[in-house]
């Protein structure tokens, strides 16, 4: 990865200086220094950081409160608790689903360990709650090649989702981009949705597969049964196919959902693959900067 940004929330000024000097000398990072939760939230609300390093005792709360807040804003960001506080005090202050990496700041090798964990969290994104694609960097680089703001593209993709809804006779279909940290809907039939964190998205797993993913009962799938977003959407049955670029990278998905269990034939699978190919063809045509003028040459009704 390139130059990183670390937010260090250490109320002790000497410790802040020491840790900042260590991180900037050992890693290719800049450090934003904060001394309180309020100070840090101000920073985190305006800047995307690659890793948070926080003490446990903060003037206006605890490091676990701050980390929990960051997980809401950016679930995949690396979080390191740098503290010598008793385990019981830390765990009592944290929720059951709370998790951050820990470095005991009183140990002789605490500085080395902090550098190692911050480095790994930034380079390998080891704080995510889901597996990443084996060529994630290439995948994201290729995704960045596309722009998705052309209304013609959205109209075309919308037609693809409607084809899916009619063929499968399902209430919800969508075409999505699986970005570095979130899933964004490019087109939907049925419920419209805002972007959701990747750790809450079924499609996070679909882009890892070679072909079509079918989940007979999402509600009992151990990966999603406690997923509030899936429950709210009422999804029981799911089928999704990766959107692959010409070089084979999966940048997103086309998927269909149903509130009831349904069968899925070989012909159905073929049709879903065709929808994915069609969606990707439109993205390659209208979502690439150099090809934009072609959009204006499309026949009326196709823009």
């Amino acid at each position: 990865m390139g130059h990183g940004l670390v937010c260090c929330v250490l109320p002790d000024a000497d410790e802040q200086r020491t840790v900042t000097a260590l991180l900037t000398s050992e890693l290719d990072v800049s450090v934003v220094s904060c001394s309180s939760i309020a100070d840090a939230i101000e920073t985190l609300d305006h800047r995307a950081v690659d890793c948070l390093v926080t003490a446990f005792e903060l003037p206006d709360g605890t490091g676990t409160e701050l980390t929990a807040r960051l997980r809401e804003l950016s679930p995949d960001t690396g979080c390191v608790l740098y503290t010598d506080a008793d385990r019981e005090r830390v765990t009592d202050a944290a929720g059951s689903a709370y998790l951050a990496q820990h470095v005991d700041s009183s140990r002789s090798r605490a500085g080395d360990r902090l550098v190692q964990l911050v480095d790994a969290a930034m380079r390998f994104r080891t704080n995510t709650a889901y597996p990443r694609h084996e060529d994630e960097s290439d995948r994201i680089a290729e995704l960045d090649r596309f722009a998705f703001d052309d209304p013609s593209l959205h109209a075309a993709l919308r037609r693809v989702t409607e084809l899916g809804a009619v063929y499968f006779d399902v209430p919800q279909t969508s075409i999505n981009v699986v970005g570095e940290n979130s899933l964004e809907y490019l087109a939907c039939t049925g419920a419209e949705g805002a972007a959701i964190p990747r750790e809450r998205s079924i499609c996070t797993y679909t882009v890892l597969g070679e072909g079509v993913t079918v989940i007979e009962n999402v509600q009992t799938d151990p990966r999603f049964r406690e997923n509030g977003i899936v429950r709210e959407m009422g999804i029981r049955w799911y089928a999704g196919c990766p959107l692959r670029t010409r070089s084979g990278n999966p940048i997103g998905t086309v998927c269909v959902y149903d509130e009831e269990h349904r069968s899925f034939s070989d012909t159905d699978e073929r049709f879903l693959r065709l929808l994915a190919d069609e969606a990707m063809a439109w993205i390659e045509t209208l979502g690439t900067e150099g090809d934009r003028p072609a959009a204006r040459a499309l026949p009326e009704g196709y823009q």
Partner: protein, 224 residues
């Protein structure tokens, strides 16, 4: 920053797995009676005086887990072993009376992370230049915590192993764990060692995902 040895980790001759680079995470899985757990024990044994072993026991008491190690390889040197005992057993005889941290719930992942980090530093400061880490077992961890948190925990642990240049072994019971959960955990690891017990008397293993390792089923006898 002080650099540690980054040489490969070797395994007992009885286990047909070639040495792996420092920073490798291995999933060891198989049906319940396949011997996968014994293979994981063998892979986690310290091989040199500069190596230590740090165990996370989530499905049995630390004392019992240590007994398993002793039965297979003689007495494990106590000064080079740490155990985060995550079982809820109140039977103190089950507790390992050496370098141990006690957590009363395998689902208390933050507590496990904290105690693991502390024991790791204790081993690193006093005796071990390099540490072999064993999670016994992923199956139990996933049954006590929600998938998202447990998944993040395992991912973080694999990241720590990469960062520190150690080796980690994650044991999973293929009979109990859902295949989809197993696939997710496998995705965090560099390789998977599958173990089976053909006809109840011939143990075999194969390695997936690691270059230069036996991909074909290979019989073995764990005579350490």
């Amino acid at each position: 920053m002080k650099q540690r040895s980054r040489g490969p980790y070797a395994f007992p001759d009885a286990v047909p797995v070639d040495p792996v680079p420092a920073g490798t995470n291995l999933l060891v899985t198989g049906p319940s009676a396949s011997g996968a757990r014994d293979v994981a024990v063998a892979l986690t044994l310290p091989r040199t005086d500069s190596e230590g072993t740090l165990l996370l026991s989530t499905d049995m008491g630390g004392r019992s887990l240590l007994d398993q190690f002793d039965e297979m390889a003689g007495d494990l040197p106590r000064d080079r072993v740490g155990i985060v005992d995550c079982t809820s057993s109140r039977d103190e005889h089950q507790r390992f009376d050496g370098r141990v941290a006690q957590i009363d719930d395998p689902g208390e992942l933050l507590g496990i992370e904290i105690e693991f980090a502390r024991l790791y530093e204790t081993l690193a400061e006093r005796v071990a230049e390099r540490v072999r880490i064993g999670l016994f077992s992923v199956t139990s961890l996933l049954s006590h915590a929600d998938f998202t948190t447990a998944s993040r925990f395992v991912h973080m642990l694999t990241g720590r192993v990469i960062a520190t240049g150690d080796v980690a072994v994650f044991v999973a019971d293929a009979d109990v764990l859902d295949r989809r959960e197993l696939d997710a955990i496998e995705s965090y690891c560099d390789g998977c060692i599958e173990v089976r017990n053909e006809a109840g008397n011939t143990r075999e293993l194969r390695v997936q995902g690691l270059d230069g390792q036996p991909e074909m089923w290979t019989p073995f006898v764990l005579d350490l």
